[in-house]
Symmetry: C2
Subunit: 438 residues, 2 copies
C-alpha cells in the first residue's frame, strides 16, 4: 500500500448528510487515499449533542461539541450543519486558519456567498460546494470548468425534489395538492413545515447559486423572483395535460441581451408549463434535473438525486477529494479570475410565453373585447380555445377561454391581466401560467 | 481591461471541430481571458492544406503545414486532427516540450492512452480530453472529480449519435435499417462509409475511455466486446415496442463483484432492449446520454450533443480554460494518483437478462422441450409469450415464442441458444437481445 501523506479532515455536523460522509470516509479510506493522493484522516465531528443517536456507526470519541478547537490545524473542513450561524463563523475561521472548505449549505451560500468567497480569495483557500446546488448531481464543475469556454444562455432547473414529487403525483394520479402534500409528509418526502419547499425558497437559493456561477455574477437572493406551487390545483394540472404540457416548478436563470448589445440576467422560480416532449417533462418523483442551454454546446441536461443523505454525501466526498488533490498539488485556487457582474433585472422585464385561462360571459363580441385588450397591452395571441361551460338552469351562460400567447413582457402581461379582470366581460381569471422550454 | 499574462495556444487541425475552436478563441477572446486568468493567444493552426476552404473566417497567415515548429514554445497544444499518426507523435512532442495538451481524439486515446498519460506524468503535464468521450456532454470531470469519492457500479451510455439517430427513426417511423441509413447519409448524420458508427467501433472507443476513467483501470480497446446494429430490423423493433422496450446501442461499463469479494469489470457495446420508462429510452435523434449508477450518488444521467463541430468545440474550450488556469496556478497535475487496474473480463462472464425470440413447430410438447433445454443450460425463464403464425395452406403450423429470461451468464446463454437451434423443434432463432437497465 502506498505511503500517503495524511490530511486532517474536520467534519461539522453528523445529520442526514454528515453521518453518511463520516461513514464513507471510514469505509472507503483506502480507495479515497488512492483517488486523492493523500490519506483523509477524520479527526473529529462537531455536533450539538455528542450522545444523540446517529444513522451510521461511528466511534463515540470522534464527537465533540467544540467545533472551534476541531477546526484549528485541520487541512479540510466539511461544513454540514446547515443554517447561517454558527456555520458562517466556522467556515470563516476555517478559511482564515488555512483550511479548504467543503459545504452543502445552500442557505448560507445564497445569502453570504460573496463574503465567504472573498475571504477564501484573500488567503488563497478554496470553497467547494457541489452538493449545495443540486444534491448529488454534478453541476458545479460542469458549469465552472467544462462550460468555461462557452456562454450559458439559459438554465432551467428542477431543483427541489419535494415539489417535483408533489407535482408529479398530482399529474399522474389526478390528485389534489393538499392530499399529495399530506402523503408526502407521511412518507418523509416533505417536512412537517413544508414552507421552504412548496413556497420555492429552497429552489430560489439554488437558483441564486447556479446563476452566480453560470453568469459570473453576484446574484443576491432577494433579486430572485419566487413563486411557490400552493396555488396549483387539479384543474390546472388537467388543463395542462389536455394542452400537451406538464406543470413543473422551475428555476430559470437567463441571459438577456438588449438590442444595444448590453446584457443582463433574470433569475426566477415559479411553476411553469413545459411541453411533454421536453427532457425536463420526464423527470419524475423526487428526482432533480438541470437543463442548460449554451451558445456552442447546445442543450445539455444533468439528471439525478437532488437530495438524500447518502446521495448528497457522494457530492461532498467528490469535493473533499478535489480539495485533497489541491493540497497535494500545491497550486493556488483555480477558479475564474474576473466577475462579469451583469445586472439582475426584475421579473417584469422578462419575456416568456403565457397561457391565460379565463371564464367569460358567453355572448357575442366577448372574444373581440378580450382580443382587443390583449393587443392594446402588447400581448399577441398564438392560440385560443373556447369551451362553453354548462352554468346550470337560470344562470347566464359562461365560456372558458384558454389563450396561448406569443412571447410577451411580464410587465405588459400582468397589466393586461389586470385590465382583463376589470373589463366587465371576464367573470374570473382562472390561471395565468408561464410556458418555458423553447 | 485587466492586463493578463499571455499563453501561446497552438491548434493542430481546422476541420469540423478545429475551425470552430479557432473561431471561438478569437470571437470570445476577452471573455475567455476573464475565465482563464490569461490571454489565450492562438499562435498558429497546422493543417495539411493551408489553402483549403474553411468553415469559419480565419486569417490566412495563421495556417501552416509545419506542426512541429508550431508546437515548439507553445503553452497549450490542441490536437484536433484525428487519427493515430501523426497525432500521437505531435502530442508526445508537445508533452515533452512542456505544453499541456487538449485533444478530442478518441481513436488515439482508446489505443495509445496509457503511453500518452505516462508521458504526461513523467513531466508533470496534463492531457485534457473532455470532448473525446461524449462530445459536448461534460462527463470526464464528473467521473474524475465529482464522483471521485464514490464508487461507480455501472455506466450505460448512448455514445454514438449516428446509430441513435438510425434506431430512433426505425422506432418512431417503423422504417427499415437500410432506408434510414441511406437517408442519414443524405442528411449528413452518417458518413459515406458508416462502418465506424454502425459496427460500434466509435462507441467501443468511447466505452474504453469511460471505463478507464470510471474504474481507474487501463482498458485496452480489444478487451471491449463489440456488436453493431446492422442486424436490427423492423420486426425486432416492432417486437421490442410490443414488449414495452426500445432498442438502443449501449456502451455498458460494469463493475463485477465475485462472491469472494474480488472485483473485475466488463466493457461491452451492443444493441440492447431498454424499458421505455428508463431515462435512456427518451434520448432521441442524434443526441447522446451517459447514465451512471454510483454506490452513494445513485442514478445520474448526463445528456446532450455527442458530436457536431461547434458543440464539440465547447468541450475543447472548457479544457483549454482548465489548462490555462493550471498554468497560472502553477500546481502540478491534480489527477488521481494510483490505478486500481481491475481485470477486464470477457463478455462470456457477464450476466444480463435476455429476450429470445424463436420460431418453433406448433405442436404439443415443444414448449416443454424448449423449457427443458433452457433449464439444463442454467437459463431461467421469467416470461413466455406464444403466438401462432399463419404459415399458409399446406405448410406445417409454426408458433413464435418470445422468452424473457432472468439474469443469466452470457456464456450459458449462448451455449443454450446453440442447443436450441440444434434441437429439432426450433425452426429459426429469430433474435437474441440483451435487456439492460436494472
Ligand atoms: N439532507 C439533504 O438531502 C441535503 C441535500 C443537499 C444539501 N443539504 C445541506 O446539507 C447541510 C446538512 O443537512 P442535513 O440534512 O445533514 O442536516 P441535519 O440532518 O439537520 O444535521 C445537522 C447536523 O449539524 C449539527 N449541528 C447543527 N447546529 C450545530 C451547532 N450549532 N454546533 C454543532 N453542530 C451543529 C447537528 O448536530 P446534532 O446531531 O447534535 O443535532 C446535526 O448533526 C445543510 O446545509 C443542507 O441544506 C442537505
Ligand atoms: N466532428 C465531431 O463532431 C467530433 C466529435 C467528437 C470528437 N471529434 C474528434 O475530433 C477530432 C477532429 O475531428 P474533425 O471532425 O474536426 O476532423 P476533420 O474535419 O477531418 O478535420 C481534421 C483536420 O486535421 C487536419 N489534418 C489531418 N491530418 C493532418 C496532418 N497529417 N497534418 C496536419 N493537419 C492534418 C486537416 O487538415 P486539412 O483541413 O488541411 O485537410 C483538418 O483540418 C477527431 O479526433 C475526432 O474523432 C470530432
Amino acid at each position: 500500500m502506498t505511503d500517503y501523506r495524511r490530511l486532517r479532515v474536520a467534519l461539522l455536523g453528523a445529520g442526514a448528510v454528515g453521518s453518511q460522509v463520516a461513514a464513507l470516509l471510514r469505509q472507503h479510506a483506502d480507495e479515497l487515499a488512492d483517488r486523492a493522493g493523500a490519506r483523509l484522516e477524520l479527526v473529529g465531528i462537531a455536533v450539538r449533542d455528542v450522545d444523540a443517536p446517529r444513522e451510521t456507526d461511528l466511534p463515540r470519541d470522534l464527537f465533540t461539541t467544540d467545533a472551534e478547537s476541531l477546526i484549528v490545524g485541520s487541512d479540510i473542513v466539511i461544513e454540514l450543519m446547515g443554517g447561517i450561524e454558527p456555520a458562517r463563523a466556522y467556515i470563516l475561521q476555517a478559511i482564515n486558519s488555512g483550511a479548504d472548505v467543503v459545504t452543502a449549505n445552500k442557505a448560507l451560500l445564497a445569502t453570504h456567498g460573496p463574503e465567504i468567497f472573498d475571504a477564501a480569495d484573500q488567503v488563497g483557500a478554496e470553497v467547494y460546494y457541489e452538493a449545495a446546488a443540486a444534491g448529488a448531481i454534478p453541476i458545479i464543475r460542469p458549469l465552472r470548468d467544462s462550460l468555461a469556454g462557452d456562454r450559458v444562455q439559459r438554465i432551467m432547473g428542477i431543483v427541489n425534489g419535494t415539489t417535483n414529487y408533489i407535482l408529479d403525483r398530482m399529474d399522474t394520479e389526478g390528485a389534489e395538492f393538499a392530499d399529495v402534500l399530506a402523503d408526502a409528509q407521511r412518507l418523509g418526502y416533505a417536512e412537517a413545515d413544508p414552507t421552504a419547499d412548496v413556497e420555492g425558497f429552497d429552489a430560489a437559493q439554488k437558483a441564486a447559486i447556479l446563476a452566480s456561477l453560470a453568469f459570473h455574477t453576484t446574484v443576491p437572493l432577494d433579486a430572485v423572483h419566487r413563486e411557490g406551487i400552493t396555488a396549483i390545483d387539479k384543474s390546472m394540472m388537467d388543463a395542462a395535460r389536455h394542452a400537451g404540457y406538464v406543470i413543473k416548478l422551475l428555476a430559470v436563470c437567463e441571459r438577456l441581451t438588449e438590442a444595444s448589445g448590453s446584457e443582463s440576467i433574470s433569475v426566477r422560480v415559479y411553476p411553469a408549463l413545459i411541453d411533454r416532449a421536453h427532457p425536463l417533462a420526464s423527470v419524475h418523483g423526487a428526482n432533480n434535473a438541470v437543463f442548460v442551454q449554451a451558445e456552442a454546446a447546445g442543450n445539455l441536461m444533468f439528471y439525478g438525486a437532488g437530495a438524500g443523505g447518502v446521495q448528497t454525501a457522494s457530492a461532498v466526498l467528490g469535493d473533499v477529494v478535489s480539495a485533497a488533490r489541491r493540497h497535494i498539488a500545491g497550486g493556488v485556487g483555480v477558479g475564474e479570475s474576473t466577475l462579469a457582474n451583469l445586472p439582475v433585472v426584475p421579473v417584469g422585464r422578462v419575456t416568456t410565453r403565457y397561457q391565460i385561462t379565463l371564464e367569460v360571459d358567453d355572448q357575442a363580441g366577448v372574444l373581440a373585447t378580450v382580443a382587443g385588450i390583449l393587443s392594446e397591452g402588447r400581448v399577441s395571441i398564438a392560440t385560443v380555445e373556447q369551451t362553453v361551460i354548462d352554468a346550470g338552469a337560470g344562470e347566464p351562460a359562461v365560456a372558458r377561454l384558454v389563450i396561448g400567447t406569443h412571447k410577451a413582457l411580464e410587465q405588459d402581461l400582468s397589466e393586461t391581466v389586470d385590465r382583463l379582470a376589470a373589463s366587465g366581460v371576464v367573470e374570473r381569471v382562472v390561471s395565468v401560467l408561464r410556458v418555458e422550454g423553447d
